[in-house]
């Protein structure tokens, strides 16, 4: 089971990076979501697949009756899921407003590539920039 999960994780990561590299920012967000999922699976797998019992202590008991799934990675994943969710939503809204500003979400467009204003362009001669 583990090796299959590892392969699933790897393929999801590949897909996520491929989407991120596409230069289409919406697909970047898709990649982000996918990568988040992949990482969660990775942590889960790294915490080892154990017996299918959830880590819950039965009523009237003070300790686990039977070996259960590893609880710690689950807690970490829960944190990671929520943080990932917050980041994704933020990125989404950021893109939404960026689109208002640039009218495009194609990161290969000049509007995205230009990092400085015209007057800030690198100017190696030390001469004044002509406007």
């Amino acid at each position: 089971m583990e090796s299959f999960l590892a392969i699933v994780v790897g393929l999801m990561v590949s897909a996520a990076f491929f989407l991120m590299l596409s230069g289409v920012l919406i697909r970047f967000v898709f990649g982000l979501i996918l990568m988040g999922n992949a990482v969660n699976l990775l942590i889960f797998t790294a915490g080892r697949l154990a017996p299918v019992n959830p880590p819950l202590i039965g009523a009237k008991q003070t300790l686990l009756a039977a070996p259960a799934a590893n609880a710690l990675p689950q807690a970490l994943i829960l944190t990671a899921i929520v943080i990932g969710f917050a980041m994704t939503i933020f990125m989404l809204i950021l893109l939404f407003r960026t689109h208002d500003q640039t009218r495009t979400l194609d990161a290969d467009q000049d509007r995205f590539i230009l990092e400085t204003d015209k007057t800030d362009l690198p100017d190696i001669t030390g001469q004044k920039v002509q406007e």
């Binding site: 959830p54 819950l56 009523a59 829960l78 929520v82 917050a86 939503i89 809204i93």
Partner: protein
């Protein structure tokens, strides 16, 4: 959404989801659930509500500002850690009182803080988006 039946159905469903959310929150310490799931559930309910009825209705229903709700949640989480300070123990040490078989402690307050914070956060984005 003209249909009264649909409206009522939505109301009912949202109401049910909210009740369920509170249930998930309260049982979280012992059964699957907890502040996060409950908040996400309630958030989904409000999202449904907002999509069918509009953001105004949601605002009216929850009364307090979502941002304030989120901050209250954060404040609760922080406050739940403070009693320990006054008893000279490390921050966030759980303090429990046992009454008739029920255990009440600061971690539960913490969980409620989580609930409010996450719900407030979801609501504030949701409403802002809807109103935009």
């Amino acid at each position: 959404m003209q249909s009264v039946i649909l409206k009522t159905a939505t109301h009912l469903m949202v109401g049910l989801m909210l009740v369920f959310a509170v249930y998930v929150l309260l049982r979280g310490h012992h059964e699957p659930g907890g502040g996060f799931s409950a908040a996400l559930l309630a958030g989904t309910a409000f999202a449904l509500f907002a999509i069918t009825e509009g953001a105004d209705q949601v605002r009216r229903a929850i009364r307090i500002r979502p941002a304030a709700m989120a901050m209250t949640g954060l404040a609760m989480a922080v406050v739940s850690g403070l009693p320990a300070l006054f008893t000279g123990r490390p921050f966030l040490t759980g303090i429990w009182r046992h009454l008739n078989g029920f255990s009440v402690g600061t971690p539960l307050l913490f969980d409620m803080g989580v609930f409010l914070a996450v719900l407030g956060a979801i609501l504030s984005i949701l409403l802002a988006l809807e109103e935009n």
